[in-house]
């Protein structure tokens, strides 16, 4: 990441800390994320992964330190940011077709009525084509599968041609086929179109081929580095404060002996296998 010295990083955190009440999620976090970098945020439940995204979205204030996006302090609703949420089903009778959902990303935030319908429609068509969703453009979103909906979320997030793409567990509850499709779309935006991607996940394997660096949050501590540096027995054992075994097999990472995600990190390791941490 030497080029980072010469370029303004897309995301820059300095001495950043976040705590709820007495409980510090993380603190003294210094990190720069560059354009075209695929940055994964990993960690157990309650480690502050989603809060990390909310800070970048401007929906959550830092407890200490500073954060900038594209050289400016974060602001809510920045057009430089695209956001892909967790898949959440729509009611079957939601009055919204696939193309309408995408069009919300194009001009849904603007005041007034849509005047230039033609321009918006053309943009929506292009976005639907980009994510391979043209065939169900006119289907109500409530009648689409979870994977199809997530493709639309990608299109919606890309509408503003964001410098920074924030993804909050976008692959959760998708089958393997759609996991590959959606993560490949996000990767293309990252490495071909040079957006910075912050990808929050509890499961690194679906994106292991794309990830440039990892931020691993656990037990109020964190580690930043390439997957090879961070996803090791030594580093994770130190973060969790208990013996954790990292095994690599066929390009996948398996973590064995992980403490139960919701209990305290200093608990004795529970016997069990969880993939991908």
């Amino acid at each position: 990441m030497d080029r980072g010295i010469f370029l303004t990083p897309v995301v820059s955190l300095r001495g950043a800390g976040l705590q709820f009440g007495q409980r510090a999620l993380w603190k003294d976090l210094d990190v720069d994320i560059q354009a075209g970098e695929f940055f994964a945020v990993l960690g157990p439940n309650g480690s502050g992964k989603t809060s990390f995204l909310k800070v970048l979205l401007g929906l959550q204030q830092l407890h200490s330190g500073t954060v900038t996006v594209a050289g400016h302090p974060v602001e809510r609703g920045s057009r430089k940011i695209g956001y892909i949420p967790q898949q959440k089903s729509f009611a079957p009778d939601t009055p919204l077709r696939a193309r309408d959902l995408v069009s919300l990303g194009v001009d849904g935030h603007r005041w007034g009525l849509r005047i230039k319908a033609k321009a918006v429609n053309e943009r929506v068509d292009a976005l639907l084509d980009l994510v391979g969703a043209s065939d169900y453009a006119r289907v109500p979103v409530g009648q689409l599968s979870g994977g199809e909906q997530q493709r639309l979320r990608v299109a919606q997030a890309l509408a503003a041609e964001p410098e920074l793409l924030l993804c909050d567990e976008p692959l959760l509850s998708l089958d393997l086929h759609h996991q590959q499709a959606v993560s490949s779309l996000i990767n293309r935006q990252c490495h071909e179109r040079n957006s910075a991607v912050v990808f929050v996940t509890h499961e690194i394997n679906p994106v292991i081929d794309y990830v440039d660096r990892v931020l691993y949050l656990a037990g109020g501590r964190f580690r930043v580095g390439t997957p090879e540096e961070v996803m090791t027995t030594e580093v994770l054992s130190e973060l969790y404060n208990s013996r954790v075994e990292v095994i690599r097999a066929n390009g996948r990472i398996v973590v064995v002996g992980l403490p139960d995600a919701t209990t305290h990190y200093h608990d004795d390791a529970h016997a069990g296998v969880e993939e991908g941490h």
């Binding site: 979205l57 935030h109 005041w111 065939d135 919606q156 086929h177």
Partner: protein, 305 residues
């Protein structure tokens, strides 16, 4: 009364031409309210506020009957009641479940207050009945101007917040991430809804407001999910119900509300049947490519790319 004379009471078209000239204002008022109800109704459906409309209308009824009792302007009274109720709901009910219980508490209270005020009122009985069941035959030019003027203001305000309100209504979390002021829009819409309810009460009465603010939009949503078409159909249905209701009610001495609500209901039933037939045939707009499982080809392409 035999069936023939009942029918004659319900449908009486004697001296129709002369009557028509007399109720021009009423027809215009009906059209304005239909337009407003059709527009507001689409957002009521998107935001799942049907029950709230009912709650607001009962407090609006209380306000109107209080105005009647003290000899104040009835429109002003019903406006005050419904905007107060709408603001209360907008500020208090953040979660849907909360909202419904608050409405359930407000509704009987408003209705009870209204009955109290009407019981105390010594004037014409028709005035009392009109608040609950609607009366539009006696709209004079000044009333029409006030009605139309207020409706235009509401529609302009609605147009100004149309896109972000749509976004916040159907996709609130994403709208919030995009910087749309979701909460502010919710309160703004409740005020617009309150005013619309108060105006609609003038024509269909407090008990039947849903026929104007819910049924047309609900019917439209049965036959299409295209946002533009939903709005267009909802407005057409609402105007058909109000203007059609007035025209049918003209010759009889029955209030217009049963005509409006019945038309509204019939439109809904027809739309519902059309929607069900389509659903059974599996028509939902998906393009099925021959020789490929649904969407499979496109997906593979995306993965490969």
């Amino acid at each position: 009364m035999d069936l023939g004379s009942i029918l004659h009471t319900i449908f009486n078209f004697e001296n129709y031409g002369e009557l028509l000239a007399l109720v021009q204002n009423s027809i215009l008022a009906g059209a304005v309210l239909g337009l407003l109800g059709g527009l507001i109704g689409t957002f009521v459906m998107k935001r799942d506020l049907a029950f709230a409309v009912h709650g607001i209308s009962e407090l609006s009824f209380a306000g109107a009957s209080f105005a009647l009792l003290i000899g104040a302007d009835i429109i002003f009274g019903s406006l005050a009641g419904s905007v107060a109720a709408a603001l209360l709901l907008g500020l208090m009910g953040v979660r849907a479940r909360d909202k419904n219980s608050i409405i359930g508490v407000i509704m009987p209270f408003g209705l009870g207050l209204g009955i109290l005020f009407l019981a105390l009122y010594q004037g014409r009985a028709a005035n009392k009945f009109g608040l609950l069941t609607g009366q539009i035959v006696s709209v004079d030019t000044v009333q029409l101007q006030v009605l139309a003027g207020t409706a235009v203001v509401v529609m302009l305000a609605l147009a100004a917040i149309w896109r972000p309100l749509s976004f916040a209504s159907v996709d609130p979390e994403m709208a919030e991430a995009r910087g749309v002021p979701v909460r502010g829009l919710a309160i703004a819409f409740m005020v617009l809804l309150g005013v619309s309810v108060a105006l609609s009460i003038q024509i269909v009465g407090a008990l039947l407001v849903l026929a104007l603010l819910i049924t047309p939009a609900a019917a439209a949503l049965r036959v299409t999910t295209s946002p533009r078409l939903v709005v267009l159909l909802s407005v057409v249905f609402a105007i058909t119900a109000t203007v059609g209701g007035i025209l049918l009610a003209l010759g009889s001495r029955i209030p217009i509300s049963p005509y409006v609500t019945t038309l509204s209901f019939l439109i809904y039933v027809v739309c519902r049947i059309i929607g069900n037939v389509r659903a059974n045939r599996g028509i939902n707009g998906r393009i099925v490519r021959p020789g490929a499982a649904m969407g499979q080809a496109a997906e593979d392409q995306a993965v490969a790319g």
